[in-house]
């Protein structure tokens, strides 16, 4: 059986939807972040799939885009986890249901 573009895209789509479910449903802020990382991984997988299979003059552009996505993901993870630690220090919790200072 030949493995084509649709197989890889299916895995990327399912991974993205699993990440979305994790990010939207978890109570712990660090769990939410893990969902975001899953979604970013699914997106890089999809970008690389198109870079490998698409008819293009410059297929290297897809890989360049993946480098940028990985960089932004690393920056996002560092800042978001620092935020989680900072919130924990002030409120003693990272539960997204209990971080409701702005609710009147």
């Amino acid at each position: 059986m030949t493995i084509g573009i649709d197989h890889f895209l299916t895995v990327g789509a399912l991974l993205f939807c699993l990440g979305l479910a994790v990010a939207l449903s978890k109570r712990n802020a660090i769990g939410v972040l893990m969902g975001v990382e899953l979604m970013l991984n699914a997106v890089t997988l999809t970008l690389l799939t198109f870079s490998r299979f698409s008819v293009s003059d410059r297929p290297v552009t897809g890989q360049t885009f993946v480098v940028m996505v990985i960089t932004v993901a690393a920056a996002e993870a560092a800042v978001a986890l620092a935020l989680a630690v900072s919130v924990y220090r002030n409120r003693d919790t990272v539960d997204v249901d209990k971080i409701n200072l702005l609710r009147s």
Binding site: I5, L14, L15, E37, L48, A75
Partner: protein, 171 residues
């Protein structure tokens, strides 16, 4: 991609990756969820090898498994009183429903579209990628390095304690 080798590799990798991603969703302990997340990252790196992107597979292992997973583990260990449970909020059912609907739309588009594809890999190595990054895409590359520096400074500023801030104010 013809032949038995890539086929077996693809099915094994997709099973490992998707089961591990499901483990992040269902595991009750946050530390177990991180271990499943690391397994997912390794599976995605395997897919990168299968898509003949060797350099990015290595970058994936080093950055995601080596840096981000350790960062997440540290964040969990630095928030001990917040608990280790990985339970869902009340929004779990709508979230899962939304994800299933989105997956249905994605799968419909993927299988319905007529993708124009090449059979042979374009064969991009690390040298081609490096050349593209430092010639055509040099401006985004430099902006990305500025972004990383800003994120580094911002993370340090956010994570330091009030006591450290007071010491810095005195100095």
């Amino acid at each position: 991609m013809h032949g038995a080798g890539p086929g077996i590799a693809f099915w094994v990798l997709s099973a490992v990756t998707l089961v591990a991603a499901g483990g992040v969703m269902v595991s009750r302990n946050l530390l177990h969820a991180v271990l499943f997340l690391i397994l997912t990252f390794v599976g995605v790196a395997g897919f990168f090898v299968l898509l003949s992107a060797d350099f990015l597979a290595m970058a994936q292992i080093i950055i995601y498994v080596g840096a981000i997973a350790v960062l997440v583990l540290f964040a969990i260990l630095l928030t001990p009183r917040a608990g280790r449970d990985n339970s869902e909020t009340k929004m779990a059912l709508p979230a899962i429903l939304l994800s299933v609907c989105l997956a249905a739309v994605f799968l419909f588009v993927i299988h319905d579209a007529n993708w124009a594809t090449v059979t042979e890999s374009p064969g991009i190595g690390a040298s081609e990628l490096g050349e593209a990054l430092l010639t055509t895409w040099v401006l985004p590359f430099e902006i990305a390095s500025v972004l990383l520096t800003a994120a580094l400074v911002g993370a340090i500023m956010l994570a330091r304690s009030a006591q450290e801030e007071a010491e810095d104010a005195l100095a």
